[in-house]
Symmetry: C2
Subunit: 427 residues, 2 copies
Amino acid sequence: MKLIKYPKRRTWSQLLKRPAIDTLALEQTTTEILSKVKSEGDSAIKKLSLKYEGATIVRPLVNQEELKKAEQNCDSKLKKAISIAFNNIRKFHLAQKEKEVRLETTDGVTCWRKSVGIEKVGLYIPGGSAPLFSTILMLGIPAKLAGCKEIILCTPPNSKGELDAAMLFTAKLVGIDKIFKIGGVQAIAAMAYGTETVPKVYKIFGPGNQYVACAKQLVNREGVAIDLPAGPSEVAVFADQTCVPSYVAADLLSQAEHGADSQVLLVSCFDSVIKKILMELEKQLKVLPRKAIASEALKNSKAVLVLNKDEAFDLLNLYAPEHLILASKNSDKLSSRVVNAGSVFLGNYSCESAGDYASGTNHTLPTNGHAKAHSGISLDSFVKKITFQKITKKGIRLLGSTVELMAEAEGLAAHKNAVTLRLKKQA
Amino acid sequence: MKLIKYPKRRTWSQLLKRPAIDTLALEQTTTEILSKVKSEGDSAIKKLSLKYEGATIVRPLVNQEELKKAEQNCDSKLKKAISIAFNNIRKFHLAQKEKEVRLETTDGVTCWRKSVGIEKVGLYIPGGSAPLFSTILMLGIPAKLAGCKEIILCTPPNSKGELDAAMLFTAKLVGIDKIFKIGGVQAIAAMAYGTETVPKVYKIFGPGNQYVACAKQLVNREGVAIDLPAGPSEVAVFADQTCVPSYVAADLLSQAEHGADSQVLLVSCFDSVIKKILMELEKQLKVLPRKAIASEALKNSKAVLVLNKDEAFDLLNLYAPEHLILASKNSDKLSSRVVNAGSVFLGNYSCESAGDYASGTNHTLPTNGHAKAHSGISLDSFVKKITFQKITKKGIRLLGSTVELMAEAEGLAAHKNAVTLRLKKQA
């Protein structure tokens, strides 16, 4: 990690720059794959999966037999852990349900909002070195609570055409309707356009490599909604003299091990605190299985010494981190200073891992500074909030002239007339 | 309007197709303007405003003197109408404020969500034939309620470099911080990148012509958030034998007068009802000031006769209209059938104009079928919902092994270690 002491404010933007992601460079390849699937459907998916992922897909749809087998093969301790996480995540997202409030804004003019689940949603879970069943929880639970009618999941199989048992167990637990063994850009294409076996969805969720991120962007331009703009994962830690340096170091490393493009940022007003944390970091890094990846990520990472708390939080809010840990015994008070962040972890015992897996909050969060204008995934992400209004005879009589005057001033005579007619009949 | 009787389901998608919008064709011009403003700032804005909009901008920022004058010049009846609308819209959006619920998902694990206003937002209000002060209400009121710290507005001046009095009155009433006399792509560029006088914002809202829509799309790709994907305005009406044909006709026309690219759709199970409405439509159209525009819009528009209510609502939900009017005395019961729509108007007295101006609901809504996955503008659009968690010693002791097991199964040892360390210290 690079240590930067008392940087001047005018250098902050430069200091906080994320490694640039250029998905545009991948646009040509990605566009080709998308259009192949669009025109040739399932047969294109089979060919492309073999070509790009070395996977032979015979029947993409997972059947009951496979689900049953997965339940048997999944470790029982892990099953219990997943179920505990499931319950916490469900509780937290259930509390996000909005009550329908009917409001009479004027006598006889009643307005309300109703949350309706997006009918068809698609979840993408990448393959790679490990089965990301936790992301199935994070996307599947709110989708189900929102009342989405069709929830499908695409994820690449291994070279034998199989899926991980924990993945299948989790997908079944959550209540996914259909699981398809399809990965990469093909999966995004299948969900965006629909094929003979994969239904077309209205919104696509989930992480993925650069090609998947690019594919999501491209289908978004064609009108398919997506969850969030993509970017590598990141954490920022504010640490003061009441932090536990070894915990902070562990939290920084747990972010760094995600990928070589991950970023961590440490901010403190105390030189000695930073020193202790960096020493701990070196120590812990040595014994880490994913040491190579974490070391690479740490090269992009910075420890910044600032003058005071005001500066610290100005810097952190400008960075707008995906995860923000307040490693301090005064975290409750400090938390009111947070303006831009995806998810915030308070105090010495709230490690990011807890939120990543099991505390209840969602782990799909805005990266790359998008926390300035975007929220993480929640129940909101899976519903549309439709407004309704019911106006009575009395209501239009009371509100009518207001509408007439405004419509006239905007030069919209037919808008005015729609009211005038309704007022006349009553005269 | 084209009358289509009992269309087969397989023809519905084709039948409901919107006129294609190809903003891509405008990308080159738009990109050039964007990059000019990005590199040259204010001086580029002045040149471009003169070139594209014939407007000479001396001081883009509206001053106190201009605001005072506008308040004096604005018609007092109109001022009162705008104030009534302001109050209704404020009431409805205030009710959207979310209470902070602290939830203990496990003993010692407390999670909550906090809505924080997006710090800097930019509102764009197009010029053209009429001053759209109503849109200032619809965007400015929720922005203010959300607690956005900097709310700026850009709108093109007339050839004398002036803004409409009602526009300025409304902007002041709402509490906009800075009003700039800048229009078109230049305005979007100024808000996206910032110039010497216009502050850079994190999210841009508001309607506009095709170039403005294209500019919003392009800056969105660069990381600036935008409100909604663009598309021409539209209404769908479900009418049964309890509707008032003249009201329905007036509602259809109030949508059609918006622009030649507007679309209206009438759906009914009764041939006689459609006939009566179309006769009324002809009658009312004849005396409409914006007859030419409305006639053009009606050419793209369809009246569809269906077999029964089930078919009607399947068709309407597939269309996913921006506005949906249920012209029926049974609208309360029918409303439960609505799955995809932006805003719904119930019964014979709830005309769209009421919602466009003054009932309280927002008029910035998803068009072009986006209501399948998007909500209209609300308080949500101006906040980020940040999640927080506080875990105690006891909490991590209870939840720790769950996190450890899951992290291990996902192959993320550092994630596990962040918990293990915290458990050890307690042993």
